[in-house]
Each structure stands twice: as structure tokens, then as C-alpha cells.
Symmetry: C2
Subunit: 289 residues, 2 copies
């Protein structure tokens, strides 16, 4: 029996791209995996770990007969990659990505892929990024995890189904959102909390008595600020890539804080209790899916 | 050998007061423990658990010959308790408390204890409050934990030393701050993060698409909002009790958010990276003490 994907090309063979390859191999749905990347050492490591079969050298040749191309690089590099692959994409070749923002990736794809835009099905696997690199890749990273596909109006249903099939073979639960919905959702539940957590620690870090303050910080602070230890470069890029949605979120949150400030200022116990009670009710019934 | 404390009276025999009694008993430094409280059932439970020797019935008689009185009730009830014990305090009896704010407790004490104010040594044990009630009390709750004493100018050094001795017998590390320092520190590292976490969840809870949003929330959201499941009544009271310091913190944090909003608005990648980097550096070297 033919594997579902005879040949897959992966740009970026780290945690996201490497785990995708390992999962597809484990599921037995891929023939050959070819890897591209900026670091020769990482590519060699990926090959020795059995993540890729070959290190690609000629983009034009490799993407012409691939079934699927995955861009698993930082979002900022994707525009250039779309430009490199665009002239050479085979007519049946599909492209997807693993970027954590979608509107900016879609804009880059539209600009570079032009009349081949229907071949690009945007995606975002929601999987942990505490570790990175090819050595962190795992065949079961996506098992039970969510993957968002953000199809374009130009995509054929069969193209979306094909990318969905790949992620489902990795064990993921695939959901669909529009690119705008995706960016709005993640601005609210991920990007904003990261900003707020960085902001708190930065605020404390500026103070003359910061050592005293931090010596009394306890478990509430620990949990609230865990994400403030995330990569500054990655969060700079995500913040700017999802700037419009995030600006709206910061504005909205500032308004919320103003309501709380006012309730405090006027000793409005009922208002404070109402806000805290609504929050507690929602948070204590929420469970991570 | 005489125990260091022949008789201790505890108002509120839940997690904080009950654990104090159990720890002092275990250390062998207390003769008799008498408990008062609003709920007869809790008092009986505390007695059956060996936390207290007797349920008190006559405040006047019990506080007259006690070595130490601990107020371990919600802060809002302390004013009334100071008024009840004030006329009957023995001349050698010391009073301390376990409230999580200090300036308001000190103000209530000054107003009710009047010329006996020197007998009150304010305190705040920094110990988890996930559980509550007498059944949650543990002899080792304070082992290795911080207890802040916030002595008054009127306190004799020997009085402060005596209260310190009790907490050290519980295994705690005792630090001293002024009441104002205490409230400023905890507004910044505890009360503000709680407000911010409640605010985020409340903000999301108001939206038409809240179920969609919450279905995509992941581990960053989980940690950031863990404290939004805290008791609304307790945090309403703490917020109002520490209102002045907390208003300053909310104002300061809003200013910080405005800086971030502006950096986003002007695509100031360097500024964002600087803020995130400072935060990451501080958070990743911080360890809970």
C-alpha cells in the first residue's frame, strides 16, 4: 500500500517540524522526509535521529514533487521561504505552516505565492515550547493536542482535508478557525497573559527595593509569572506579528483595570466581590482540553 | 520545667490558628490552649483534634491570665475582638494576629486597645491558604515558612522577642517590617497579581465567545489564572483593607501597560525585547524562599 504522503519537505526540523515528521513516520503515512534549515548541525542531528531521510540542497527540485511542505520556522522567516518555494511548487503540492500567528503569515503567503495561494492551508499546532531543537522532537508531541487550521477561501476542500489528515495521523484534534478568529482568540488567551506577566516582573525589576519585594513573593507570584521566563525574542515577534489584535486586548484589559481601580477608590465592596466571583466561577469550572 | 507559654488563647481555630496551636504543642512550649470562635461545631472539632484543650466561654476571664492571645480570624472581625478583649487583658498578656494586611489591623488595635497598644505585636504568617478550617490545621504548616512581624514603636523589645519566640518554635523564619513596608510589599507581590488574574478572567467571562476562547486556553493561561480561583470574599476584604497601597500598585501597573501599548503601537521591537528580557532575567533567577 502506498503511504498517504509519498514525500514531505520540512523547513525547520526543530521541536515542531521534527515532531511532525516523527509522528507521521510512526503512523506509517509518509514515504520520504526531506529537511531544510539554516543550521547544518541541526539538520545532521535530525538525520541521525531519524527525523529526516535526507538533508535537502536544492529547494527547486525538492518542492516540485513533494506532496506536502511544512514551514516550521519562526514566523519572521516565512515570507522569504514562500518566495523561495513559490516558483517551484508542483501543481499538486500543498503547503502548510506551524506559526503561532496567522494573519501575518497569510499576508506573506498571498504576497509571495500569488496565484498559487490556494495551495497554502495555514495551521497552528498548540503544543508546548518549553524545549526546542531537533533533540526535543517527539513522535507523541501532538497526541491529544489541538491543531488549528485556518483555511483560506481559495483552498479546495480536498486540500484542507489532506492537511487535516496529516495532523490527525499525528494524533492531534484538528479545529478550524478563520485566520482573524485565530489571532483574536490567541491574543486573548495566550498573548495578552504573556504580556501581562512580563509587565508585572518588569515593573518590580525597576524598583530600588526589588530584592526585598522578591524575597516575599510566594506561590501566587510564582504561578502568575511563570510565563515571564519565556523567550523575549519569540514573544517580541509574536507580539508584533499579532499587533492589531493584541493592541485591542491591551486596551480592553486597561479598561477592565480602570473599573477595578474605581471600585477600590470608592470602596465599592459589592463591585469587587462581583468581579472576583465571576472570575472564580469561570476559572474553577475551566479545565484544560 | 515550665513551658514558655503557660496559657494561650486563640480566636479562630482554623488553618492559621489551629496550626499555630499544634506547632506550639509539638514544640512543647505551651501549657494550655483555649479556643474561641463563631462556630461551635468548629470549636468542638478543634477540641477533638487536640488543637485546643478547652472551648472558652468567658472572654474576660480567659484573656486576663493568658500569656499570649492570637487573633486568627478574618481581618474584618479584628476590630470587634480588640474591643472585647481590651478591658480584660492582663498586664503581662501579649496579643498578636495573623492578618494578611497590617496598617488596617494596627489602626483598629490603636483605636480599641488605646493605652494597652504596647501589648499588641502585629504579625502575618506567609502560609498557604488553599485549604481552610480546623481539619486543615497541621503542626508543620509553618516549618520553614516566613512570618512577618510588624512591631509598633510602643512595643517593648521583650514583647517582640516573646512573639518571635512563639513563631520560631513553630519552625518559622521570622522577619520584621514596619506595617507600612509590609503592606507595600504584599500589595506589589501578592495583592496586585491576584487583582490582575481576576481581571483577566472577568474580562474573558464577559464576552459572547467566551466558551470558544476558553477552549483554546492552554498552560500559560492555566498558571496565570490559578489565583483567580481564590476566595472572592477574602480578596474583596484584603483589597479594601490594603486599598491605599493597592491603588498605587494598580496605577503603576497601568502606566507600565501604557508603555507596552505604545511600544506595540509604534512597532518598537527593541523596546519590547528589552522589557521582556529584563523580566525574563529577573524571573528566571528568582527562587521561592
Amino acid at each position: 500500500m502506498q503511504p498517504a504522503f509519498r514525500k514531505i519537505v520540512i523547513f525547520g526540523v526543530g521541536l515542531i517540524g521534527g515532531s511532525f515528521a516523527l509522528a507521521l513516520r510512526k503512523a506509517g503515512v509518509v514515504g520520504e522526509v526531506v529537511g531544510f534549515g539554516r543550521s547544518q548541525a541541526t539538520l545532521e542531528e535530525a538525520q541521525s535521529l531519524g527525523i529526516i531521510d535526507r538533508i535537502g540542497s536544492d529547494v527547486a527540485a525538492e518542492v516540485g514533487d513533494a506532496d506536502l511542505v511544512l514551514l516550521a520556522t519562526p514566523v519572521a522567516q516565512m515570507g522569504e521561504l514562500f518566495a523561495r518555494i513559490a516558483p517551484h511548487l508542483g501543481s499538486h503540492t500543498l503547503v502548510t505552516d506551524g506559526g503561532s500567528t496567522k494573519c501575518d503569515v497569510v499576508a506573506a503567503a498571498r504576497s509571495q505565492l500569488a496565484d498559487k495561494i490556494a495551495q497554502f492551508v495555514p495551521g497552528h499546532p498548540i503544543a508546548g515550547a518549553e524545549k526546542s531543537g531537533a533533540s526535543a522532537a517527539m513522535a507523541d508531541l501532538y497526541q491529544g493536542k489541538k491543531v488549528v487550521l485556518a483555511p483560506l477561501p481559495e483552498n479546495l476542500p480536498a486540500s484542507v482535508a489532506c492537511v487535516r489528515q496529516a495532523w490527525e495521523a499525528c494524533g492531534a484534534n484538528v479545529m478550524e478557525l478563520t485566520p482573524e478568529e485565530h489571532d483574536g482568540v490567541f491574543a486573548a488567551v495566550s498573548h495578552l497573559p504573556h504580556l501581562l506577566s512580563f509587565a508585572l516582573v518588569h515593573d518590580l525589576a525597576q524598583r530600588d527595593n526589588k530584592d526585598l519585594l522578591l524575597s516575599f513573593a510566594a506561590s501566587g507570584f510564582r504561578d502568575f509569572t511563570r510565563i515571564a521566563a519565556s523567550s523575549p525574542e519569540m514573544w517580541r515577534d509574536i507580539s508584533l506579528a499579532n499587533r492589531d489584535a493584541l493592541l485591542q486586548e491591551v486596551k480592553r484589559y486597561t479598561d477592565e483595570l480602570n473599573v477595578i481601580h474605581q471600585a477600590l477608590q470608592y470602596n465599592d465592596a459589592a463591585k469587587l466581590e462581583e468581579i472576583f466571583s465571576v472570575a472564580r466561577a469561570v476559572r474553577s469550572t475551566w479545565t484544560q482540553q
